[in-house]
Symmetry: C2
Subunit: 730 residues, 2 copies
Amino acid sequence: MGRSLPEASFDVVPFARDAWCLAAEGQPPQLGHVPALFSIGNGFVGVRGPGEAAGAPRVYLNGVYERVPIAYHEAAHGFARESDLRLAVADATRPAISLDGQPTGPASGVELDLRRCVRTERVTSGGIEIVIEQFVSMAHDGLVLTRVAFPEAADVTAMALVTPPPGSGGAAGAPPEGAVYDPRVAPVMADSPWVELQVSTAPGSAARTDSLDKSGFLVACAMQEIGRRTIDGRVQVDFVSGYRASRDRGALDNLPEILRAAREQGYDALLAEQADWFAHFWSVSDVAFPGQPNAELAIRYALAELAMAVGRDGKTSIGAKGQTGEGYEGHVFWDADLYVMPVFAFTNPAIARAMLEWRISGLDAARDNARAMGQMRGALYPWRTIGGHECSSFFPAGPAQYHINADIAYALETYLAATGDRSILDGHGAEMLVETARIWLEIGFHDAGRDDGFVINRVTGPDEYSAIVNNNLYTNLMAARHLRLAAREGLAARLIDAAEADRMVRAADAMFLPFDEERQVYAQDDAYFRLAPWPFDETPPQSYPLLLHFHPLAIYRRRVSKQADAVLALALMPEAFVAPMRQRMLETYEATTVHDSTLSASAFATAAAHAGDGARAAHYWRVAALTDLADLFGNTDHGLHMAALAGSWTTLVMGFAGMRVDGDVLCFDPVEIPGLSDYRFTIAFRGAQVDVAVSGRSATVSVRDGRSVRIRVGGEDLASPAQAQPLRAI
Amino acid sequence: MGRSLPEASFDVVPFARDAWCLAAEGQPPQLGHVPALFSIGNGFVGVRGPGEAAGAPRVYLNGVYERVPIAYHEAAHGFARESDLRLAVADATRPAISLDGQPTGPASGVELDLRRCVRTERVTSGGIEIVIEQFVSMAHDGLVLTRVAFPEAADVTAMALVTPPPGSGGAAGAPPEGAVYDPRVAPVMADSPWVELQVSTAPGSAARTDSLDKSGFLVACAMQEIGRRTIDGRVQVDFVSGYRASRDRGALDNLPEILRAAREQGYDALLAEQADWFAHFWSVSDVAFPGQPNAELAIRYALAELAMAVGRDGKTSIGAKGQTGEGYEGHVFWDADLYVMPVFAFTNPAIARAMLEWRISGLDAARDNARAMGQMRGALYPWRTIGGHECSSFFPAGPAQYHINADIAYALETYLAATGDRSILDGHGAEMLVETARIWLEIGFHDAGRDDGFVINRVTGPDEYSAIVNNNLYTNLMAARHLRLAAREGLAARLIDAAEADRMVRAADAMFLPFDEERQVYAQDDAYFRLAPWPFDETPPQSYPLLLHFHPLAIYRRRVSKQADAVLALALMPEAFVAPMRQRMLETYEATTVHDSTLSASAFATAAAHAGDGARAAHYWRVAALTDLADLFGNTDHGLHMAALAGSWTTLVMGFAGMRVDGDVLCFDPVEIPGLSDYRFTIAFRGAQVDVAVSGRSATVSVRDGRSVRIRVGGEDLASPAQAQPLRAI
């Protein structure tokens, strides 16, 4: 049997104060993974929470990175030679606060109010309480606002301060001798690449500009005091922090102007804007679990952190950890498209569109990458990147994951289904679809030895514990779907001719799907069931995750999956499998999966729901939802797991409630979930706001503002417009 | 169709002066690959020939290396963290020679006399000829002898000189911008690791000692003038150069003593010793091709260079390039065991034994390596090493080649067959056999889905263009052979119990061999014939070798072999295949092999001979024999290809003459080879010297000194002792 994930429960959730508020009390050693967990941001600036040593990385800017050379002892043709390394920037978010002439100690408590995404830290010393309230403005790109409050009678000073980028001005430090190398964390650079360009301080303000030599990014930041008053015996000092980043020096020049505007607007007005922004956000995104405040908190936390991490400018996307930690060099992977994008497609479509625009902007780099990988036509998206070029140095678990192309196509298809906004196709969206689909024709072929089945050999599926396989089920199924969409939209956009469209459709129709006769299940790949089982009995708990304890080849040799792979296909494409097959696959792959990736749980949860297995679905859902709150995988400190956060929402909506789009119809088909009899959520669909209340296997669906959309519940079409009325109970 | 190797001919062989002498004339640009080709050595010291820029790497010491960190951008558990980098040492072999007060220019000619392995360079300037005669003493570990001769009337000075290690005292230089990265060449270090410990000069002598910080090696060398005389109007100045290397500083102390002894012995006496050494060597190793001096030269060159490169002290072996160039960091690979060892097992068994002793000395490191790779029992030899630990940083084409274990076992089996010297088993040889065989039980298993066939998944065979495959034919066949030998000898040595021996024999008996029904051939691996063919029609000649022009995955995805793999199994184990199968396999795999490795040609040649295809055998043999002389692969400058040199001999003996050992019987079964009607060679077998003269398909075998050995020719046993009499003609 595979590895069971620990049971996670909403009964006791760390840091849960109420359904809208996260709170931690205690000095740093007790705070655990608080620095990452209490991160705030606005999709551009990310600021980690309190609790770490001075000088630790704390502030990140989405899309700002250095280009660092990738060293190989034995390189080969086509290997990526440079990586985009996202580096923590100068910290302009932390005023210098002293009490009785001494710098204050660590925070003794911190709260995160999810209603407005405002964070409040408390520093207590000798009976004096200093409160630091802070938020990153969703309404203003580069602004962080901070209010420091303390008793009038206390000898407290609070002054603007900007500290240099971590590690600048010296070696960034080497990992301690004998440390276990963890490939999930960014490599440490021997020398900091930051170049200090300008530093200025004046009464009430501090500013600096640094640059990154190879990428050419300039980062300007400043903090200014913008208000000071005394109310009821407590002093309030307000600060604005501003960040600008660009490769164009001129683009930084308006930072003083931005700061002046913020000063004129004032802290309270900016906070009101923040409250308005999130009031709207929650009105189109909120969930409710009556009587289960901790479950509510967990999903709200997920939605809030996703919103605070995702780029909304079409020039950035969302890294595996957002701007909340050092993990994975800040790189964007497939989970941005496959896990996060659908959340926004059905709640905040403008954000989803911006994510797609970022992908589309990378089309030329993806063409370059395809050439490097030996494909003469088409585009292959990089496995990990910030700027658009492939940054993976380990191709078996990186560039071999060709499914990235199909994942992006799936995201585009999901966006089209959710919004009906076909204008994305005109803006090179159709071109991206076609160019990425061409890759399948380049690397696959109709195998005469398999009745002309279309085979795709030597790729890696989502399961990185089974690298370089033939006919990965997930890849082949997703490629078939991708090819059909590209043929249809490519023809419509006159990007391909009928002959090429025909090739695509024929490949899709003939797609080979490996099948295991003995188990009567689709096989993860041609050889999966030919491998010896992983020796679970001989693997103690401390040997997980396997990737930190076993050579890759020792893992590849065994029948063991890091994460959902065939099961992910089941989660995304339940229509491809008949009902008994779903349950067989779920049980077969559960027995071989170790869930060493946090992407696994929500896929298992959704697939279990599709199989009608509510208890299993609920178990995995709780794991996804509490991955970071309960630090279930022990590495939340590297940054929040954006895919797990997103998956906790998609499991609820697409798994539990069985939501999917069939043509123009929004369909629901709820599954009975033990312990979750009632829940509500809201969905954006084709310009309408759809409120859904599920109770057991029944759903009440209402469409706001009398908009006309087609709804189906439990297979039964409903009259439209359908406003605030129960639609079906089964 | 696969890629055809260029036709190679003995009609015109570059640098062939006569059947014993290689000679090059002309200034450096015309000399081409002369620096590597005219290398001389004694298995410890190697000195490249003339023709390179001052300061280029020129002198190497076998077994002397620095430990350098291996950089990974994304590392994983069990990856090698350091590599043994063999570095060129200080040059104490080049006297400072000046004419009319100016340093002399480059050599205008060089000869290598294979009878004694003495090299003669000529420097001509203004009508003055300076002759530099040089040899590396086979009789004295670290000694290089040099005689400089010039006209008495000329204003020539020749003085002892030692130049520092290349690159020391500064950056070793970076590869030129835009250079094609060639993984077959050693990486360039940013900073030289050499530390100068001592430098001394005195009239007539120069000396220095340097150390390598991380490996701890110390290298002491010195040059002294040891004679000067005038004969017939020409001055002769004699020099001795000495090298000592050790991690123990005390071990260097006897260098002055060694030099004094050499001085006392004198150049002429040392040269006579050298002549004696090689006279014996040729008496037990020589080959003859009546009327074909160039073919004779080629095979003699191969034998001589192998003898000058191979370590004979049991503490060193032979790198892929010996001590003749920078290639492959000086590492020892499987070809030491599988290609080179058999040559010495059948000509100079003491050298073969020393090579095995070196392997045996690495048993503990091989145990460590097995643990790193995830095997709980047994030993896995490193894919590339000098000091014994794994130095490969790219596991798909490195540590995944588990066949290394079987290759070493094959070498041991060959040594036992050739010599009957079972004492090697007592000296931990049996332990090595058993420990390496255990790996097969660790990574393979009886697959119920394949009728309990013993399968070995996720390994790489000799063909590095088909990495991480299931059931590589070569690996499985060699593993079965290995398991049987280990069971027998392990039981005999009481190293294993009957149960373990039984497991080994059952695995061997049940070994799964992939078979392609359509082609009726054994398949290189489970999926080989499931892959799309390589598009040879679209691959221009300049796109070879593929590894320099295509991403590894683009290569892995296609049915293309870098080198003999299934065909190598055919070459080594013809008895495993019936005759028609041999020809089918040969033709099938010829059509998919590009021979991007110089190990390929001799395997194809031998396999072709086993298939009775003499014309094909002769073609590939000429390629192997002329690989370096004609620089057929364009990279002889990186160093001589020791495996190709060795393969040119084994093809002749084991392929053409069909030599093999059956129990205690030495068998021959010659194949008709077009253009090679008559040839002779000599073999050491069980203490006897066996002279073999082949004419067409008949062989005349004689045993020297009346020793009694059993001989079989063409299947017919001959009376023994059989001395100098024709034995059989078929």
